[in-house]
Subunit: 247 residues, 2 copies
């Protein structure tokens, strides 16, 4: 039960609505995530969370008796649940179409939670613990597993696994830079560039790793000429065509 | 004045050598770095630093009156000085030869300081502060500036800058994974793969960014057929040759 965008946070009338335990919990987490999205967790007070959710401070404590640390971890967990689902996608059609949809979901989350996303990934918060670090690592692991499933290699060798993990880090880094630069370029361009990076890394790794080469061949066979790989290939040719001395 | 490898840390005889202030300071930083390399800063005591350097605890305090926090920051600063110099390289010859030498230096540092390098980059230490975060960011910035100089584009547009920063993150991530996986594959293979990634990212970004395309063309013109780009190109062709339906 996410609060609709634009719904005023101080409409205390919401405090009087009868919500189920699950709805109330979701409402509190949502209020907390919105606040953590714009300020570091240590700068957010429980009073503010209560006010943003239009409830009393004791009610926040009833749901989260561990106070801010527990609320922060639960909010992080709920963000992680969303992020971990980003790369879940039916395993059919061209790989780039599946990754493109996954990136759209991921970048929509980044866009919505910008400062909170940055705080989450960069750590350094005083409420950061080994548990929150494990949560972030869990998101990365889930994303890697999904991508490897899409590549048809659920149990990869070290090279392909390293390539996928490296690309996930590149996606994170590019997202942080994107937030930092006032969300330039447009999100669709960022997505297409990250997709191009994936194709480039897969191809470069295929050059020296037979397992990756087999996965790349299988993936390429499903791509269409008007899809991202075809467009990238036709654009790369003019750049490299002057370098025939290298072949 | 680095302590030679294999020099026993508990040879207290060293305490009686007359060292200059600078030599003593370097010796203490070196002892601290060795300890921080294998354990998180919060688990290292000043007594251990004193013992590793073969000096008394008061002497450590005389050089670092701020105690462990100051010693940690100074050790980090000295590590940063080494890392920032990694990518400094004469601007002549093929780009891949320059980057290859830079990666050799960087990965030698990673190899020598493994756990300390991981702790440094992953943060989460209780002695982590905004100053230490700024130091790590400074290393990344210095590396990016050097690479952009090698590309002949000291003041790049957002796309090329993002590409270089993304690759630096990929190098960091791959280094951490490499440590995590017991330093497999061999460091030369890791270096060559990171170099292949750079070529792949540069080429993919050149597809949609004219500035990057110009830099890539200029870089390719300096490459030799038996260099990394030539080898990569000849290895990639068999993988993509089945995908002529995309052209």
């Amino acid at each position: 039960m996410r609060r609709p965008r634009g719904y005023p946070a101080d409409m205390t009338v919401r405090a009087y609505r009868r919500l189920s335990v699950e709805e109330r919990r979701a409402q509190l987490l949502d209020a907390a995530l919105s606040l953590f999205a714009h300020r570091a967790p240590e700068d957010v007070s429980l009073d503010e969370v209560a006010e943003a959710a239009g409830v009393s401070r004791p009610l926040v404590y009833r749901y989260f008796p561990g106070g801010k640390q527990q609320l922060y971890e639960a909010a992080l967990r709920s963000a992680a649940d969303v992020l971990e689902l980003c790369f879940a996608e039916p395993q059919q059609g061209p790989l780039t179409r599946r990754l493109s949809r996954a990136l759209d979901r991921y970048l929509a989350f980044v866009d919505e939670h910008d400062a909170g996303f940055a705080a989450l990934l960069q750590g350094g918060s005083v409420v950061e613990t080994s548990r929150t670090t494990a949560t972030v690592d869990g998101i990365r692991r889930a994303a890697a597993e999904q991508i490897l499933l899409h590549l048809g290699v659920p149990a990869p060798g070290p090279r392909l696994r390293m390539m996928v993990r490296t690309w996930i880090t590149a996606v994170e880094a590019a997202s942080l830079i994107w937030i930092d630069e006032g969300k330039q370029p447009e999100v669709e361009h960022l997505r297409d560039w990250l997709l191009d990076q994936f194709i480039a890394l897969l191809t470069a790794t295929a050059a020296t790793d037979p397992e990756t080469a087999a996965a790349a061949r299988a993936a390429l066979a499903l791509e269409a000429a008007d899809g991202p790989v075809g467009v990238l290939a036709r654009r790369v040719i003019p750049v490299v065509s002057e370098a025939v001395h290298l072949l």
